[in-house]
């Protein structure tokens, strides 16, 4: 079969959500910038919800200020509130970067954020402090688009025509801090100089020790972002990133930095592709360490291929994650039977076609979907394992389908920030989690299952 069967959602009601709101993604991107703080321009609840979602996933304090719009401001405008919010954030947090994310409310009010920010900047002496507004109305996008929009906005703010240099640009999608650390380790092993955006590998997963800082240390330095236009190339793990929000495309179109869009390096093929790309950029040979890790992964793939062949996964989450794990599962003989995203994406279906070209039964693909749809499709398709975030918990509770947790949010298990799935090592870690989940289910039930089946057959 070639590709997936597309399934539309004619339904109006969204029952058990598979995606989050747009400013949430923006928050995470800003948290990957050094000395940044964010303000959500809307009602108090939005900031608290986004903090809660982040806190439960990252197990870290994730401070988000709010302009706290109330009834009066929704009628007369929220300018004064937003300015006061900026005042207070500057005083308490002393950031160098202030990201302002709009919400459904401030967008519906029609707040002119650019004008308000310009007027604030004019009224104050903001030496060395940048305020970056990003429109993120959730009725036009999910956290995925929010993440890309904020990343692009930050780059657009700082990028300046620069002399050519040798540091490559690396742009990551919404992945775990552990994944970012692994990508950095690989770049380092390959001897590549880079600037990675947004780097929340430390800010959203800070080690214990030292004086608590309100803005955690780490994050991409704005000076480094400023020099991105001088890079030889941008490597962006964003095959599904919409063009209008693509940070890499922005650097290419505005500054002529060639863009290489790669899939997330989950699975051996994708990871080989990443290494191949780096070699094409003229770095040295693959170091022994990576060759060993590749060998261990191949060894594991052989060891577990028969177990994995029993897997009938549903894979759900953000488009980039869904694409990456579909490839990884497929190359291990466990192609998904249901693929789903809460986000609508113009590229995902097309990208999946070649990945699934050798698969016997075409999986069904849902976009802009909910868990009511996913759960039902999983039951119909005989799914026996799920790969995705904690939103799939009812698959387990109601159908006994275990969930291998990847993506965001992981709020019902600890260590969401440490879930590692990229690189040879990360793929191996994921594969072991995947295989062992299948085995655990099997060992729990196979004796009873076979006994029941045979007893009936023999007429007992």
């Amino acid at each position: 079969m070639d590709g997936t069967q597309q399934a539309g959602r004619a339904r109006q009601v969204n029952e058990n959500q598979c995606h989050m709101c747009m400013p949430l993604g923006g928050v995470i991107a800003f948290k990957g910038i050094e000395n940044a703080m964010v303000i959500s321009h809307g009602s108090q609840g939005c900031s608290t919800y986004m903090r809660l979602a982040n806190v439960e996933h990252f197990n870290e304090p994730v401070d988000i200020a709010s302009s706290g719009l109330n009834e009066k401001q929704t009628i007369y405008g929220g300018e004064a509130n937003l300015k006061k919010a900026i005042d207070n954030v500057l005083r308490v947090y002393q950031p160098k970067v202030v990201g302002i994310l709009t919400t459904c409310l401030s967008e519906t009010m029609g707040e002119d954020l650019d004008r308000i920010v310009a007027s604030y900047v004019k009224e104050h002496n903001l030496d060395g402090i940048d305020i970056i507004p990003v429109p993120t109305p959730s009725y036009s996008g999910s956290h995925t688009e929010g993440f890309w929009a904020a990343t692009r906005a930050v780059i657009a703010t700082y990028a300046r025509p620069t002399e050519k240099h040798t540091r490559i640009n690396v742009i990551v999608p919404h992945i775990s801090p552990a994944d970012i650390r692994e990508i950095k380790r690989i770049l380092c092993l390959m001897g590549i100089e880079y600037v990675l955006v947004p780097d929340y590998s430390l800010t959203l997963d800070r080690p214990y020790g030292g004086r608590y800082q309100k803005i955690p240390p780490g994050g991409t330095r704005t000076e480094d972002i400023a020099r991105m236009p001088g890079a030889p190339v941008t490597v962006q793990f964003g095959l599904t990133c919409p063009d209008a929000l693509s940070p890499g495309l922005f650097l290419e179109e505005k500054f002529g930095v060639p863009l290489i869009n790669l899939p997330l390096p989950v699975g051996i093929e994708a990871m080989d592709g990443f290494i191949g790309t780096l070699q094409g950029l003229g770095c040295g040979p693959v170091p022994d360490q990576l060759a060993l890790e590749r060998g261990w992964l191949l060894d594991a793939m052989a060891d577990s291929h028969k177990y994995n062949a029993e897997g009938r996964p549903v894979i759900y989450g953000e488009p980039e994650i869904v694409y990456a794990f579909t490839r990884a599962c497929t190359e291990n003989g466990a192609p998904p039977v249901v693929i789903a995203s809460g986000t609508k994406n113009s590229k995902l279906a097309g990208l999946l076609v070649p990945v699934l070209s050798d698969v016997e039964d075409a999986p069904v693909l849902f976009e802009e979907t909910d868990f009511a749809t996913i759960d039902e499709a999983a039951a119909l398709a005989g799914v026996n394992i799920a790969v995705g975030h904690s939103g799939g918990k009812f698959l387990t509770e109601r159908q006994g389908i275990p969930v291998v947790r990847v993506g965001f949010p992981v709020h019902d298990r600890t260590g969401g920030q440490r879930v590692l799935s990229v690189g040879y090592t990360g793929t191996l870690a994921f594969l072991d989690r995947f295989t062992n989940t299948l085995l655990e289910t099997k060992y729990m039930s196979y004796r009873t299952r076979i006994k029941e089946k045979m007893m009936i057959k023999e007429g007992y």
Partner: protein, 462 residues
């Protein structure tokens, strides 16, 4: 209190306008500034009106909860309470109209109608709560009219909840929206009469970790039946029988005092405040309920129960008390009734309370809290992370009680933490709950991990 919060910028910074929301304990009361909107940019821990309404109504188990707004409001409140159900699991689903740009521009009523139609066709629920959010409120979608029409069309209760988030950052306003929705649901339709019984309603109780069931068992032993809880493990049909109760006992006063007052006005049902957090509070509450029934048999059974349970748990609590005596505790929770209960419980364990704050406390409640604490203790309304961090370090806190957002901060500062929030899984009510609470305080305060953390590199005390 002087010098609690020095105004300056930098790592110690506090916002000057917040100074009046921070006071010291003791009988000499300083009026604390409270019940106001959160200050812009202060990073309040509060949620919104919608959230307040959603958490109060969430445990109505067989109702459909339909959030009329863009996706976020529904996503973030999907199954967020640890409320348990003895029957339907419908309430654990999160329904959203998932408003898109088109709906915002042209109005979302049509989509809302379509969503209600789909839900009724698929599930035939006895009731649907339709929650307004910032956007649906702002664009003026008439959820009242849509709900009314749908009620008539399907012969079920479609109840609008007027919970537009922007009305206030204070959850209490949302509690009121939920309370009004509940009154709409339980007010008998014309021609329907609800017979009076000797049973009681249990208001402001959400069956977290089975707490409703625990108290129901105590009352059953005393010879008193629970009519329905608001809203823990309730069903639409059970809620409609609410007017038949002889008494309303009210626990979470922030969310349910208004309902109790209305039930008294409409149906003549008297009410009393109760509190089942902590052994002393539990015993006191059971005695007052028994006194209301004025029946020697009930009184006798109540005293037997209290004596037996107290005797059973006292040695256990005493054991934990020995380990915890003199440890310093901080409390930051949503409602004041909970703060008061936790203060009492921690005191019973011999601990010193050095910081107490709430998101939604009222002036009288802060007066009570203040009276329970000494002048070294800090009292704070609508705190933010910067203030919490400052006082947790300054007051050398060993353990904190609060919600998820406070937990990660406490851990980062190397401080123990007790979850006392709406998504906790443990039963903390009643006599058994008092033991569980003491155990949890002990486990976290005296955990061996702190020794390792402190050995490594403790956060500096400024």
């Amino acid at each position: 209190m002087e010098e609690t919060c020095v105004l300056k910028t930098g790592p110690d910074a506090c916002i000057d306008e917040r100074q009046n929301s921070i006071a010291s304990g003791g009988k000499n009361k300083t009026a604390i500034h409270c019940t106001d909107d959160s200050l812009a940019g202060s990073v309040s821990q509060r949620a919104c009106v919608f959230c307040g309404a959603r958490v109060v109504l969430n445990p109505v188990t067989d109702a459909v909860h339909l959030v009329h707004g863009p996706i976020g409001c529904a996503t973030y409140t999907w199954d967020i309470r640890g409320s348990l159900s003895s029957g339907s699991e419908m309430y654990r689903n999160s329904f959203s109209t998932d408003m898109k740009e088109h709906d915002v521009v042209f109005g979302g009523e049509k989509k809302l109608v379509a969503c209600i139609d789909e839900i009724v066709e698929k599930y035939h629920p006895p009731a649907i709560f339709v929650y307004a959010t910032c956007v649906s409120g702002m664009i003026g979608d008439d959820i009242i009219a849509v709900s009314k029409a749908a009620s008539a069309r399907y012969g079920i209760d479609v109840i609008p909840v007027e919970s537009s988030g922007f009305v206030s950052g204070n959850k209490v306003v949302g509690y009121r929206a939920a309370a009004e929705a509940l009154m709409k649901l339980i007010t008998p339709k014309d021609g329907v009469t609800i017979e009076k019984t000797r049973k009681l309603n249990f208001l402001g109780e959400y069956n977290l970790g089975g707490e409703t069931w625990l108290v129901r068992n105590y009352l059953a032993e005393m010879g008193i039946e629970v009519n329905v809880a608001f809203t823990g493990d309730s069903s639409v049909a059970a809620l409609k029988r609410a007017p038949g109760a002889a008494l309303n006992i009210v626990q979470c006063t922030g969310s349910m005092h208004w309902v109790a007052a209305n039930l008294e006005k409409e149906f003549g049902t008297p009410f009393m405040s109760v509190n089942f957090f902590g052994a002393e509070n539990t015993a006191d509450s059971l005695r007052r309920i028994a006194a209301f029934y004025d029946d020697p048999a009930i009184t006798r059974r109540t005293e037997t129960l209290i004596a037996r349970e107290m005797e059973r748990i006292r040695p256990v609590i005493r054991l934990y008390g020995k380990k915890l005596a003199g440890k310093r505790a901080a409390i930051y929770v949503g409602g004041a009734y909970k703060a008061v209960a936790i203060i009492r419980q921690l005191r019973e364990l011999g601990m010193e309370i050095v910081l107490t704050g709430t998101q939604t406390g009222k002036k009288e409640e802060y007066d009570d809290i203040s009276g329970m604490l000494d002048e070294n203790a800090v009292i704070i309304d609508d705190a933010n992370p910067a203030e919490l961090e400052k006082f947790l370090l300054e007051k050398h806190v060993d353990v904190m009680a609060g919600g998820v957002k406070e937990r990660v901060l406490a851990y980062k500062l190397g401080i123990g933490f007790v979850d006392h929030n709406h998504d906790r899984k443990e039963c903390l009510a009643g006599f058994d709950g008092a033991v569980t609470f003491a155990h949890e305080v002990y486990v976290t305060t005296c955990s061996p991990v702190w020794k390792q953390l402190k050995r490594t590199a403790a956060p500096e005390v400024r």
